[in-house]
């Protein structure tokens, strides 16, 4: 049976120590957290969990440096996603030799990487689109993008950067030949073993 300490006055419940003392929270005889004049310290190996509910976007968080919405950090997550290549006019298809991606999400910021190697030329037409793990923000101050850290086996004009589409979960691979900045047409520029790596940075909706 749980032991309940009921603070039945308007002053609430106070746990105090003298000026040199500490207040410890223990579980099974082991320290979990210590309160002293410096602050609150968790014991080595112990975690602080701010939970969220599955199927519910709302989450607990921690305010850092203020109590406005802009000070709330309510999400941290890392994982994988599978980058796909499509065309904006005709989605098209290709086989993949390598198709792997990872991400870290800290609050609204997503930092991701991916490596794609096609097994054949891509049949998509229009602008070349690469899928993302999260939907991008639609605000005018959130311009995300990606740098190309590796590319090989492009027919011509391989990608120089990726521009992230606002309010969407993809970016456009584009090239810059110092005269023209333009989209890449998958069917025109890809072939067997066309490959690229991206380092992606953007904010989410």
């Amino acid at each position: 049976m749980a032991t309940i300490i009921n603070a039945d006055t308007s002053d609430g419940l106070k746990l105090t120590s003298d000026t040199s003392g500490e207040i410890k929270l223990q579980s099974a005889g082991a320290d979990i957290a210590t309160v002293n004049s410096s602050g609150i310290t968790l014991a080595t190996g112990k975690d602080l969990t701010l939970s969220s509910t599955a199927l519910d976007a709302s989450a607990s968080g921690i305010y850092l440096g203020g109590t406005d919405a802009a000070n709330l950090l309510d999400d941290y997550e890392y994982g994988t996603w599978t980058p796909t290549v499509t065309g904006s006019t005709i989605a098209g298809s290709s086989t993949y030799v390598i198709q792997t991606g990872g991400y870290v999400k800290i609050g609204k910021q997503v930092i991701a990487q991916c490596f794609v190697q096609l097994g054949s030329s891509h049949s998509g037409t229009g602008a070349m689109k690469i899928s993302l793990p999260f939907t991008s923000a639609g605000t005018s101050s959130s311009y995300g993008g990606a740098t190309v850290s590796y590319k090989t086996n492009w027919v011509s004009n391989g990608p120089d950067f990726m521009q992230i589409q606002q309010s969407a979960a993809f970016g456009y691979l584009r090239y810059d030949n110092n005269t023209t900045i333009a989209d890449l047409n998958p069917a025109s520029v890809t072939q067997t073993n066309t490959a690229f790596m991206l380092i992606i940075n953007y904010q989410v909706a």
Binding site: G79, W81, S88, T135, Q165, A168, A169
Partner: protein
């Protein structure tokens, strides 16, 4: 001792102006009922995108939110954005 790998859709979110459906799949490695490790895998379903191979719960969300009106608005938005970028 039994070790098994389980996959579950543990989060489905409706995000943004055009009701993108964000899906998170959790993979657990479980030993005798205790989770030893877990990882996440993510993907997003845009309005108008085929969702027929998705989990039934994801399909239900797509069916509810990806109405023809939303699909048309998203298609128009993308066309306008691309025209601006290529101008």
């Amino acid at each position: 001792m039994t070790i098994e790998k389980t996959k579950t859709i543990d989060k489905i979110e409706v995000v943004g102006d055009y009701k993108h459906i964000q899906v998170r799949e959790r993979t657990d490695i479980v030993e005798d009922g205790n989770v030893l490790s877990s990882t996440y895998h993510r993907w997003v379903i845009a309005p108008g995108q085929d969702y027929s191979n998705e989990h039934a719960d994801v399909q239900a969300m797509c069916k509810q939110f990806h109405t023809q009106e939303v699909i048309d608005a998203y298609t128009t938005f993308l066309a306008e954005q691309q025209a601006l970028e290529n101008a």
